[in-house]
Symmetry: C2
Subunit: 245 residues, 2 copies
DNA sequence: CCAAAAGTGTTTGACGTACACCCATGC
DNA sequence: GCATGGGTGTACGTCAAACACTTTTGG
């Protein structure tokens, strides 16, 4: 038996995936499609985040974990609760009302928004009941509810956070090249970085470990592979109090 | 007539106030006191944050603003929503259950937590129906519900944020001395700062404006007063993409 | 004149930034 | 052998960090 839902509280998940091939930061979205009763008119044809009600007996974090697993099958991914959205009219535009009509959904629902960081290649889109699609965060489709706002706020949080915490590696495979790390930063921040300076800076870090391995199966000069050591990072982590206002 | 409350969603407010005289970062708390029915035993004697249910027709931000005004009479203070707390058992310890018993309160309430930044001197404690008290954030009393956790998370957020945004000035009077700014940083971060370096760094900023005024009514050498110009700060604000992981 | 806090300069080292070419590999 | 991306070195300027004494004022 399904646990009891809290009808006015939900968790919405912004699933960020980095597409290493196309060097693109993407968001995983599911389609919302509705025709009029006479089937002549398309009333709704847009995308939304996945989310679900919070169950009476679970924490908000658990809900987010559950939603991600349901959507992607994945567990143990980087997760961050970043903001609650609770405007009284956040589900109140015409399309949203039409969509909600037949759902067990309170019109005044507050959603606790999370974002996840993972690799697009880890998600199997084909055999997926939700038929989700990846969209570049810089080129989002039409979005239902207030989900565009939620995605953009998640993205802002990610931009700030990736500058001071090594979360970038959650978007990359365990073994990566320096240039791939640079690609991720450039995609997320929308900037260009000098390769020589970036490379020097990264290689200098003790927790970026050169492996005894090179890329295989590519048709150009194969690059040196590295890994990120969380252990070493945490051991040498020293809080810095640099005031930069 | 009071608007309808949402019974399972509240906003809790961590009110930070800087006490410039004692150089102390404080939190404003209200007392929770309950005796047993025979009045022989003190069942509850601790402190909590102020909070209130969200009304059906208001935003979460509005709720926070309303709670602060009700508690302090103040409006237009710096406000930040920083986290939602929704563990199923967050109000479930013995004392909390006893306290809630006679209140219109859902046992599974999710709270959206905000913090405010202001000056202790701006709050009139005497003629206040809630009889709130200031406690140093580094020396909190016994706290009800999960409010200690909420305060500590607010404080962590503040510590990080004050390094990269000029929110520190929300804790100071409009006219302040350089040493007062240093006091605030030292109190919040729990560190010691070299006065010469700090002074040079601050005075160099275009948005820290030396006034044609000095301190008055103090019994020592009066210090130069400065103000913070939000206008200039915003005009010269340049996003920096320094990756410091 | 004394107590107390305000205010002041220099040196050193680390690091961010700018910048252009050669190298190794697979095909 | 050639196209493609991988990889490399130097010079300059900024800024954080360390460090101790003099000055000004009110009482």
């Amino acid at each position: 038996m399904e646990p009891k839902k809290i009808l006015n509280i939900s968790v919405d998940c912004v699933v960020f995936g980095f597409d290493i091939t196309n060097k693109s930061l993407n968001v995983l979205l599911i389609k919302r499609f509705l025709k009029s009763e006479d089937a002549k008119e398309v009333l709704i044809n847009d995308y939304v985040l996945t989310g679900y009600h919070v169950y009476e007996n679970e924490t908000l974090d658990d809900t987010a974990t559950r939603v991600l697993k349901e959507l992607t099958g994945l567990t143990n991914q980087y997760k961050k609760q970043f903001k609650a959205f609770g405007d009284p009219d956040r589900l109140m535009n015409e399309k949203d009302l039409a969509w909600i009509k037949n759902q067990e959904f309170n019109l005044r629902t507050t959603t606790i928004a999370y974002y996840f960081l993972l690799k697009t290649e880890d998600v199997d889109l084909k055999s997926n009941t939700y038929q989700p699609l990846w969209f570049p965060v810089s080129n989002l489709p039409e979005l239902g509810f207030d989900h565009e706002k939620i995605i953009l706020e998640a993205y802002e949080d990610l931009k700030v956070k990736c500058l001071s915490e090594p979360i970038i590696f959650k978007l990359l495979p365990d073994k990566f090249t320096i240039n791939e790390v640079q690609d991720v930063y450039e995609s997320i921040l929308g900037i260009e970085i000098d390769n020589r300076n970036f490379r020097r800076k990264l290689i200098k870090k003790k927790y970026i470990i050169a492996l005894d391995e090179k890329q295989v199966g590519i048709s150009k000069k194969p690059a040196q592979l590295y890994m990120f050591s969380k252990d070493i990072y945490q051991k040498m982590f020293k809080k810095n109090y640099l005031i930069s206002i």
